[in-house]
């Protein structure tokens, strides 16, 4: 029945009517998500930038203050340090990318048994709650009874106050960040490796290239688009680090004030000191830095990324 009606109706509709009908359907499909995205994501960008130029009172009164919020946050020593900490964290996180590439190549070695098991083990931290990851590593890195320091002392080396020494703690937390995200990067490299034709690797093999040579001269250049994608994503994500720092460096930590990231500073300004204007200014600074760093990466890709 429905079939018959459809056949009869179709020729009677003009093209314009048809496309108008389609437009309503398009609205039906896109409308609900479009509205939500507009309200919760597009509007907040405008509002967030607007807020960074306002002084927001505790009960919501807003007055335009120009760039005072930016002057205020930049004048604080905290911001410079938070910025350096965040950049250091992001830079160290990049080391995870070559590590992930090597592990991906190892896991995909021909004839390897237990591939599935290795993949699961490397992926396990990805599905673990970051709060839990932070708590476990805080225990492992404990200055007095953490396993790491106890092992160091067992072989005669002094222990290190990993989490309460400024700079050192950022490096250590970045390594935990790498540990947590390695699985994702390995999977994405694996997908990239599967795109490399076997013939190319066999050709290199016939030319007498050993495994190391094949890796350096064939696999690394052919994976460079994946490497590029991961490095852009890594910088964007690690510039927003919060959970690990918030949980691994508690308020009793003597280095706490020197160990903030931009987002921890944002959280402190916005939700502890209720200075929404300053918090919005920090978020805008973060946005600007991420845009600049991404633009630089896109610029530099011409030098080292090979697209087929």
């Amino acid at each position: 029945m429905a079939r018959l009606r459809g056949r009869e109706a179709a020729p009677r509709r003009t093209a314009a009517q048809l496309s108008r009908g389609r437009a309503w359907w398009a609205l039906l499909f896109i409308g609900p998500a479009g509205l939500g995205l507009a309200v919760f994501y597009l509007w907040p960008i405008i509002r967030g930038i607007y807020l960074s130029f306002q002084d927001v009172g505790p009960f919501g009164g807003e007055t335009f203050v120009g760039i005072d919020n930016f002057i205020e946050v930049f004048a604080e020593p905290d911001l410079g340090r938070a910025l350096l900490n965040t950049l250091l964290y992001a830079a160290i996180c990049l080391i995870g990318i070559p590590v992930a590439m090597i592990v991906a190549v190892l896991i995909n070695t021909k004839g390897l048994k237990g591939r599935g098991l290795f993949r699961v083990l490397f992926f396990l931290p990805v599905v673990t709650m970051p709060v839990a990851v932070a708590l476990v590593w805080r225990l492992l890195l404990n200055v007095d009874y953490g396993v790491l320091n106890l092992s160091l002392r067992a072989i005669g080396l002094p222990g290190v106050a990993w989490l309460s020494t400024p700079v050192v703690n950022m490096v250590v937390i970045a390594i935990v960040g790498i540990w947590m995200g390695l699985g994702t990067q390995i999977i994405i490299f694996t997908a990239g490796l599967q795109g490399i034709p076997d013939t190319l690797i066999e050709a290199a093999e016939l030319d007498g290239a050993g495994p190391v040579r094949r890796f350096v001269s064939v696999i690394v250049p052919l994976l460079s688009p994946t490497t590029f994608l991961l490095s852009v994503l890594s910088v964007i994500a690690s510039m927003q680090v919060f959970d690990l720092i918030f949980l691994m460096i508690d308020p009793n930590n003597p280095a706490q004030s020197q160990s903030q990231s931009l987002v921890s500073l944002f959280y402190a300004k916005g939700f502890l000191q209720h200075d929404l204007g300053a918090a919005a200014a920090i978020a805008c600074v973060l946005l600007a830095i991420i845009l600049v760093l991404s633009a630089i990466q896109f610029r530099l890709q011409r030098r080292w990324v090979h697209y087929e």
Binding site: I45, G116, L121, M129, V131, I187, A191, G270, F271, L291
Partner: protein
Amino acid sequence: MSESTSVMTRERAPVAVREPAPVTTPRRARRAPGKPLTWVYALLILGSAVMVFPFIWEVLTSLKTLSGASSVPPQILPDPFTTRAYTKVFDTLPFWNLLGNSILLTVIRTLGQVLLCTMAGYGFARFHFRGKNVLFIGFLAVLMVPGQLFLLPQYEIIRELGLLGTIPGIALPGLFSVFGTFLLRQFFQTLPMELEEAARLDGANEWQIFWRVMLPLAKPGIIALTLLTALWSWNDFLWPLVVSGSVTSMPLSVGLSLLTDLRLRDDALLMAGALLSSLPMIVVFLVLQRQFIQGIAFTGTKG
């Protein structure tokens, strides 16, 4: 020529790894049975140990006594073996309540996001209307923006709606996702147009085409988005930390962080709490590992 010498010198170094056959033999490239693989296994086992050790230590510590967890030299195996820390998690935290909140939030956000993103992804892939590309690029720009910029205005909206400290308030912004819309759009774009035409000739309306014909074909994409959203929702921390306010609407991630505020630091308790909170998602992963890994791979190749 320089090529071949460099190959020679590179070949020299790992003597133990490869058979020292001369470069001139064309067939020597076949692997010496077992030897290079031994190195691969050694490296992978070492790497896996680094990945897994913290979990093993977490489990062992959670079964120790208060003093056993922080003793020097360390106890390797719990002595005595006790489930005290687990009992204490349930005494200290309203654990079942937090677990319920986490499950509820994950189900709401996952179902909502998958449905809305699938519809919108389909709309962007299959319909043509004026301003579509501008709109789409506008949404894509959102992907570049750090989440914190949204956070304050989203907080204001939730406050204005009177939803602070409620499950719907925490869930609402997470129903929508640019990333998910983009991922599904990529999927729908690859499906052949003929299927749609055929269904239309059979008299199906647009919704029927979407629901009965296209949706089943986009299943890999939908499964990927479902798992990624569930994972993100379960582990989400900053937003619920800011919005929940009290244990009534708090998910496990935020509840777990409360354990660090206790005056007496109890590492066994922290490890038991960490384990109990992450276990549900780890179990889901172990059951659906192939789909999880596929999902992550999609985000790298399509996203």
